[in-house]
Structure formats: C-alpha cells, structure tokens
C-alpha cells in the first residue's frame, strides 16, 4: 500500500472512527483502525464488535492495499503534525511508514485480513431522512434510555420505520419518551426471509450506537442520510460515512399501554420559565436525593414549585400557568423533568394530568406537521 492524503482529512477521519475503537478490549485488533486504499480514496474502518464505523477520505492511491494501525497512537501523531500532505506506506511485516514534511514515523500494524469485516446489511426496511430530524429524534428520546444492564431491553431505543414516519421510543420505567418524525418513502425489501420477520414493529438500537451517531450528524438542513434496519443490524449511511450497529435482541415492552389515553387537568406554561424555576429549585436538592419537586396550582393562576431537602433548606418558585380542570398537586423527579424541557424547542409546554398518583404527560405546544409528535410520560412521586 502506498497512498497520499491531506493530514487534516486523515486526522479527522481517524478521530471520528476512533470514537468507536474500544479502549478496554483485550483484543489488540479492536484498538486498531483498518486502512484500505483503493480507487482514489482511503477507507478507515473501526469497530468494537458492537458498533462499526466506516469513513472514506480523498486520497491519491499509488499502490492499493490494506493494513491496520493503532488508532490512539496514529491519532496522536496526526494531531500534532503540521497541515500538509501525508504519505503512508506498508511493508510486508505490516509496519506502516507515515511521512509528513520532515517527520517520519514507523508504526507496527496488524494484518488487514485479521480485521473483522463489518456486517453487510441487506433486505429489511429503509428510509431516507434529513440528518437534522434524526438528530432531534435521538435527542428527544435517548436521555430516557435505561442504564441498568440487567434489563438489557431497555438499554436501547425502540426504532420503528413506518409508512410515512420514523418513531423512537425510550424508557427506564420511570419515564417514557416517544418521538415521531415524518419520513416519506419507506422501502421494504419484502424478503420471504424469516430473518426479517418482526422488523415492521421496530428494532431496539443500543444507546451507544445512537450516541456515536448523534455526534456525527449535522444540524444543518438539507443533509440527508439513509436508515436501514434488518432483524440483526441497523445501518446509517451518509455521504462518505456509514455506521452499523448490532441491535438489542428481544421484544420491547408494550409502551402504548403506559401512555394515558385521556386527562382531567391540563397545565400550559412557558418552557423556559418552567425550566429556569426547576433548575434553581433543584440546586438545593443533593445529587443522591430522590430529586422530588412538588407542583401546586394556586387560586391566582400561578404554579407553586417547591423542593425541600432537610439538611439544606427549601426552595419556593412561582410561575404563570394556564389551567384547565381542577386544582393540581403532584410531585415529579425534577431531573427527569429538566431532561425533557432542556431539549424542547417549543415556546410552551403542556402537562396533562389525572390524579396525583397517575402518570403525567408532557408535550411541546406547537403546530405539528403530519407524522410529527413528541410526548413524555412521567411517573409521579409520593408527595409526603
């Protein structure tokens, strides 16, 4: 292999795929990045056996070939080289020579054929969507994913590609986030293959894959990406880059049952006012406390927000609220509320309630396009 490319391209590529490189793995090859030079570009591939990432950067290829190099070390070297052309070559012992101006490094690589091939994703369902929309979808749900490894099913987000929409659902049993975006043009490769059965009701994407993906998605409008799901893998493909992940195996709990079908009381508030009040109130609650905050409506059309920590003190906030239905008194976990409010762009939010012991539903108040919806179900806490 003999190849020339720009230092910046290579550095950014190694940094990006390097994110999925496993730092703690016992397999040397997993701390490496696969470099494959062919047809005018250099492909960089990394995997930790759960998530795999693949990037192509422009390069002048003199001799095609492939090798793997340790991601961290090569990243460190590239990071501090001046911006110029980098030449890479490999000898028969997989020793890589990296040259840039007057800097010259030899790095011991491992043979490319010992690098695990990323799975090929075929069949199943696919759809194209704006990156910014997918990014929002992930932001609106991934914070609610459970971190409890003993309940593996909940450590990912259920992702459904439906007719005209894409939906993501996440829950840790204390709260549930359900977000949906319009996504026309669903393609179903109806393989009579049993392996694809059940994909229509959604697949569970591990939180780790969603985090890595969110990092590379652009917030700018106009940039699209393809999502492709099969029973065993999900593939996200965009210009010059793709990310593939294994899925969490099993049936996601029936989340529809948890969503209250009706409500008796309804509170509408300014999102930022509510968030700011909760933030201030939460500052008196110790991190390891139950994080309880009590919401009470007053006769004067205000919402009382109180938090108490025996050893610290008491917080009392008031904000304006529009109320439908009877007076409200209910307690929630303040951090769970803030998680959702801090990613909501809508000016106002609505909380729909029934009783003090029934779950509440938080939604942004906004004109929604067909196929777009977002709601957040919160379990109440005891008021004491």
């Amino acid at each position: 292999m003999k190849v020339y490319c720009r230092r910046k391209d290579l550095y950014e590529g190694v940094q990006t795929v390097g994110r999925v490189v496993s730092g703690r793995s016992t397999l040397p090859i997993l701390s490496h990045v696969l470099l494959q030079a062919a047809e005018g570009h250099l492909r960089l591939v990394a995997t930790d056996f759960e998530v795999g990432m693949d990037i192509a950067i422009p390069a002048t290829v003199d001799v095609e070939g492939a090798v793997t190099v340790p991601a961290r070390i090569v990243g460190d070297i590239l990071g501090s080289l001046p911006d110029s052309e980098v030449a890479l070559s490999v000898d028969e012992n997989n020793v890589v020579e990296l040259q840039c101006l007057r800097s010259e490094y030899t790095i011991r690589g491992l043979p490319a054929q010992e690098f695990p091939k990323l799975p090929e994703v075929q069949g199943g369902r696919s759809v194209e969507i704006e990156q910014a929309l997918l990014r929002q979808l992930i932001n609106e749900t991934s914070f609610a994913v459970s971190t409890d490894e003993t309940r593996a099913l909940l450590t990912g987000a259920l992702t459904v590609l439906g007719d005209g929409f894409i939906k993501m659902v996440a829950t840790d049993t204390h709260r549930l986030a359900v977000s949906s975006m319009p996504a026309p043009g669903l393609q179903v490769v109806a393989e009579a293959d049993e392996a694809e059965a059940g994909v229509d009701s959604g697949v569970i994407i591990p939180a780790r894959a969603l985090r890595e993906l969110a990092r590379v998605l652009t917030a700018e409008a106009g940039e699209k990406l393809q999502i492709h799901i099969t029973r065993n893998q999900v593939l996200f493909r965009m210009e010059g880059m793709s990310l593939v992940s294994r899925l969490i195996d099993g049936q996601f709990p029936n989340f529809e049952r948890v969503i209250p079908k009706e409500y008796q009381k309804r509170l509408v508030m300014n999102t930022q006012e509510l968030l700011a009040a909760l933030r201030r109130a939460s500052s008196i609650l110790p991190r390891d406390s139950a994080n309880r905050v009590v919401l009470r409506t007053t006769e004067e059309g205000l919402l009382d927000i109180t938090a108490e920590a025996g050893e610290v003190g008491r917080a009392h906030e008031q904000i304006e609220v529009t109320r439908e239905g009877e007076a409200v008194e209910i307690a929630f976990n303040v951090r769970y509320m803030m998680d959702m409010l801090s990613i909501t762009e809508a000016e106002s939010v609505v909380i729909e309630l029934t009783g003090a012991l029934n779950p509440g539903v938080v939604k942004p108040v906004s004109e929604e396009a067909e196929g777009r919806s977002y709601l957040y179900v919160l379990m109440p806490m005891a008021i004491q």
Partner: protein, 360 residues
C-alpha cells in the same frame, strides 16, 4: 487443531462432533481436565466448528469440523471473530466487568451469521460476583449462543454454575498412548518418544510440541535453569536473562522453521511474529514453573507439572514469598498481553525479568 486431532480425547471429541452433527448444542458446556491437557484447544476447535461458514460435515464418519479456510475461520484462527469470543483472567481473576461485557454482548443480535460462542478460560478464576453475573445467561442464552467454560478445578466453581453446564471431561492420556501416538506420527526419533511421553504427564499437546521441536526440550532445560537462578540473582541479571530469553525464542523459531508446513497450510508468518509466538510459548512454560511454586507453597506433597525439577522447585519455593509468586504470575500475563500488541520484544522482556527477581 481440529477436534479429531485431540489425542487421548477421542471420547469427548466424538461427543462434541455428535452434538454438532445432530444440531443439539447445549446452552453451556464445562470442559474439565488437568492443566496443559488440551481442553482449551478442544474448546477452541469446538467453537471454530460451531461458527464456521462451510464446515466439513461427514455424518457417516461422525465428522464435523471447521473448514479452516473460510473468512470466518481466518478470523477465528487470529482470535478476532466477533462470534467466537474468549474471556480469560484479567490478571489473576476474571472480573465482574468482563462478565458484564459478556452479558451485554450476549444481549445484542448477531454481528452476522447465526451461532455465537463464548469461551471462558480458567473459569475457576471467576469471582463470586462474576459467576453470579452470568447465571441467567448460562441458563437461558438467546438462540444460537453457546458458552464453554474451561477449568482445571471444577470444585472451585459455584454449584449454581456447575448445575447449568453440560460436563465434558478430558483425562490425561496414558504415557503409552502418548508414546504410541508419537511413534505413529513418526515425528520423533525412536529413543526420544518414550522420554518425551513420560515427561508429558499424559499431556498430549505438550508432548507433540516437544516432539516436533526437539529443541523445545533443550530450551525448556535452559529456561528452567534460568528461572531456578532467579532467587539469588542480582538486578543486573535481568538484562542478561532477557537476552537469554530472546535467544531461546530465536532457537525455538529456527527449529520450527526447519520443519515448516507440517501443521497448517497457512503462509509462513513474518519473522517478527514468529519470535513473538515463541516468546509467548516461553512465557507459558515459565508460567508452569511459577504455578508449581505456588502449589508447593500451599501443599508440599502436591504433584507438580515440572516434576523432573522437583528439587529445584522446592529450593525456589522456599526462597520466594507468596506475594512475589503472585506478582510474577501477574508479570507473565501482562507481558503476554504486551507482546500480543506488537510491543518491542527486547524491552518488554527486560521489564518482565526485572519484575521476576526477588531483590528489587
């Protein structure tokens, strides 16, 4: 190594191939047998056969083996296949984080392909938390997932683990069987066969290696002499010892090259890789020495692997404090880890030798 090549283990090999042929694979296996007997090799061969894309299947002959040539087999040979994972002690123990990772990996869908195998080597090194962490996985893994626990001391495993595994026993072959095997394969000059077989203690794999590379016996003598000298060595000795180790590795390599092509039809590895592999083999031999020291520390009459050097072992055991033996074992396993990562061989061995000395 294929299942049918496991000498002295015809019964377990037939049992495993029978399961493979019938497709009735247990959720979890426990491979039990003495150190160096070939149970880990058997586990690997079984795992490779399970995940191979194009296995050699001959039901009439009771054969089901990995093909050894498909892309999956290339990766499993390098130990880099996502569906054949090996978990080995991190230091002296198998830690809870390793088992959490295993449990997490099991909960994911397949990377491609269908069958997935997890080998847990030295399963007795699991902490109680580690063992408890995988109980549920052992009992009802998802379809296609098989766990193979390998151990030399099943009595150290929790009963809850034992009851969840299908037991496969590996017994030492008789000295006569090992000797007969060596003769049959004609890998060794006649007078040597008996000596090597007796030295092997029924561990066929070891005997075969020794027979194929007669230098291994001489190298072993030199290595054990070096290790026996460690208790009274001064710090400067570390450098000479590391140099000697490298010389031993080179000798092993030169000898292996002389009869290259006997084993697998793979392309010859580059020289550096061969030295590394030889150094790793030496570390394994050194490990048996320190393991023996540990055994003697705990039970004076216990049988040891290097029985022909018992006097030397007893002298060394008297000189080494228990904690230093543990440190030495730790140093050996760390060095193996570094060598596998393409670290500089000379430097790595020097650092290791310095850590093996008693005096600082």
């Amino acid at each position: 190594m294929r299942l049918r090549e496991l000498v002295g283990h015809e019964r377990p090999a037939a049992l495993l191939q029978g399961s493979l042929l019938s497709g009735r694979i247990a959720n979890a296996y426990l491979f039990v047998g003495e150190e160096g007997i070939g149970k880990a090799a058997a586990a690997l061969a079984f795992g490779r056969a399970l995940v191979c894309e194009t296995p050699e299947v001959r039901p009439e002959a009771g054969v089901y083996e990995a093909c050894g040539t498909c892309p999956t087999c290339v990766l499993t040979a390098a130990g880099n296949h996502p569906h054949l994972r090996t978990i080995a002690p991190d230091g002296e123990r198998i830690k809870i984080d390793q088992m959490r990772e295993l449990r997490h990996d099991v909960s994911l869908t397949a990377f491609g392909g269908t069958r997935r195998v997890y080998l847990v080597r030295n399963a007795e090194a699991m902490t109680e938390e580690s063992a408890n962490c995988i109980l549920k996985t052992l009992e009802e893994p998802p379809p296609g997932v098989t766990l193979v626990l390998v151990t030399e001391s099943p009595s150290q495993l929790l009963p809850t683990i034992l009851s969840r595994c299908q037991l496969v026993r590996f017994r030492p072959a008789s000295v006569a069987a090992v000797e007969a095997y060596l003769r049959e394969r004609q890998v060794v000059p006649e007078p040597h066969a008996h000596f090597i077989a007796s030295l092997s203690g029924g561990r066929t794999g070891w005997a075969l290696r020794a027979a194929r590379h007669p230098a291994i016996l001489e190298v072993r003598e030199r290595l054990l002499a070096l290790l026996a000298h460690l208790p009274e060595a001064d710090p400067v000795f570390a450098f000479r010892a590391a140099e000697e180790l490298r010389a031993l590795a080179r000798d092993l390599t030169a000898d292996a090259e002389a009869e290259a092509g006997a084993e697998e039809a793979s392309a010859p590895a580059p020289e550096d890789r061969q030295i590394r592999a030889a150094a790793e083999a030496l570390l394994d031999m050194a490990r048996t020495w320190f393991r023996d020291l540990l055994v003697l520390k705990l039970a004076k009459e216990a049988p040891v692997v290097n029985g022909d050097h018992r006097a030397g072992l007893e002298t060394a055991a008297a000189r080494y404090p228990l904690a230093r033996i543990h440190q030495a074992l730790e140093a050996l396993s760390q060095t193996r880890h570094y060598l596998a990562r393409n670290a500089n061989v000379a430097l790595t061995l020097e650092v290791m030798m310095a850590r093996l000395l008693i005096s600082d």
